[in-house]
Subunit: 327 residues, 2 copies
């Protein structure tokens, strides 16, 4: 709806080349014509059409970010840092949200690719050969955060297995008689990418082997709250939640039933989401370094975009166990 170079040219009775020269300060233009051109451009608020420009030199200087859901509170935190880093490097960031739907995710990724994003950042909801082939077919750099798809794509993550193993060990070392691992995603069916949760499960299972005197249990259903009472009847229990939001729900549940943490049971989460700041008691949790993962992911993506050659890597950042008040 804006004025175009052609229209300016027409209004000024010059060729578009001249207009361009005046506008972009390239080449030389007569003083008079230059002024007239600039005046007209100013008056009609000329702005280059970036679609056309991109079409011409084959670059959009934009990256796409697919975010799972803004309710998850999880990846939301990474958007800020992704955005900042991309901007610093001169890229525009397009965020889309797939509302926790795998098909939505595919559609949006395709949409971003069709719009010529130069790279895509995501924490995949999909997995499998099919999805891998799909991503390959895009012919643009893709970097995954957390969940892996295949080693064809750079993945930035923390060693969730080790983290879970260490977390479970800490709980065991504190003298709890039971440890229940709450991990609802495990019930989400085989098509969903729940890589990080699977890794965490492995970690917990390893710990279980080390601490024979502690009774381990896994709660995999979405309705985990109703499973809590029976868990608590069999000795001093701690719940390790594969995600802080689950832990927060458990805290709410405890509140409702007049139970106190850590007096009546222990609680530990995963991810260290921002809202924990507002919650009491302070949740002991594992920082999976979302911000760090995001920063590294953008860096890798941009490098992959700009380098002539790039080999996909698996990058592991340091996790951190944050002991606070709930164990």
């Amino acid at each position: 709806m804006s004025i175009t170079v052609n229209q300016i040219a027409e209004k000024c009775n010059v060729s578009r080349t001249t207009v361009l020269r005046a506008l972009n300060n390239t080449g030389s233009v007569g003083k008079e014509t230059r002024e007239k051109i600039l005046a007209v451009a100013e008056e009609y608020h000329y702005r280059p059409n970036l679609l056309a420009r991109s079409l011409h030199h084959g670059r959009t200087m934009s990256i796409g970010v697919v975010t799972i859901s803004v309710e998850s509170l999880y990846f939301v935190q990474s958007l800020q840092v992704i955005n900042k880093e991309a901007e610093r490097r001169g890229y525009f960031t397009n965020i889309v949200v797939c509302d926790d739907s795998p098909e939505g995710e595919r559609k949006l990724i395709q949409g971003l690719a069709d719009r010529q994003m130069e790279g895509i950042l995501l924490s995949p909801l999909n997995k499998g050969k099919d999805f891998e082939a799909f991503l390959q077919s895009l012919n643009i750099p893709v970097v995954c955060m957390g969940n892996q798809v295949s080693d064809a794509f750079t993945t930035v993550q923390v060693d969730e297995r080790a983290a879970a193993q260490e977390a479970a060990s800490r709980i065991a070392a504190k003298g709890y008689q039971r440890l229940a691992f709450i991990c609802p995603p495990l019930s989400m069916g085989t098509e969903r990418n729940i890589y990080v949760h699977e890794q965490r499960l492995f970690g917990v299972e390893e710990a279980a082997k080390q601490y024979k005197d502690v009774e381990f249990a896994v709660i995999k259903n979405m309705d985990y709250l109703s499973a809590l009472p029976q868990q608590l009847q069999r000795g001093r229990t701690a719940f390790l939640c594969s995600g802080d939001s689950y832990a927060l729900n458990v805290m709410q549940w405890a509140n409702l039933h007049g139970l106190r943490i850590p007096d009546d049971f222990g609680l530990m989460g995963f991810d260290d989401i921002n809202v924990l700041d507002y919650i009491s008691p302070k949740l002991t949790t594992v920082s999976t370094n979302v911000e760090g993962v995001a920063t590294t992911a953008v860096t890798e993506l941009l490098q992959q975009i700009e380098a002539e050659t790039y080999a996909p890597k698996s990058i592991y950042l340091k996790y951190q166990i944050l002991e606070r008040e709930t164990l």
Copy 2:
């Protein structure tokens, strides 16, 4: 990086027109050629370049959304619903985050316009004639949520003044002797758009006139927590916070100092952000209907995009006072 119509044409020894006909199922194509074309397209994962397509027919079917900050927890909630509604109507949603910076906001808006977004949705950080002119110069529909810029743009909001007035009245009616309105944005300087907070202040002031026996105070600095102790020394106090996050901070502060809500003082927030679900005691607050505002805003934006004529409006949705446990 993908294959183009031209390249397919070349590979099949036909003209691009024929390729297009085969691909888009328009016009008639010989069986043999069609199959060959489709095969090649499939093999090389042909996808239309949407930039080129948009350039041609002047539409991108995309809208831009500028979000203040993902840490604010506030507008983040609206993204989901905006996205859903836009998708339902066939539009692609591009979200950008301006990290609470007014200059960032301008830059991003410009970036979205330059990329030919057909409309922009935002809760403006900027204000004033200058900003208004800037938005006008974009020549595309703009719809504001919450904060107003001018009546040149449709704004969707709740009547914050009335809401604040009613909220303050409720507090007064509960027998509190003092009401302190905590509103840090009021100290943000004259260039920031803090329209909603100003409206809330007006509402509180109106209530102050009605309830002469209640002592009213306004706390406008960012460091409001350090102002709390002296507030509490002068009778039974309630804090009305212009934003739930401020209230959450007050709750944390109370926790830290062994004070109980509502026993030691009353507390009320604004916005009803999602995380309140996780917080105890349950915060009494004013729902400013973020989701509703967002839905209406998209609807209006799309209408403005699609209609030949459209007159900007001021739309007021219903707010709701949610009495919970902190008063």
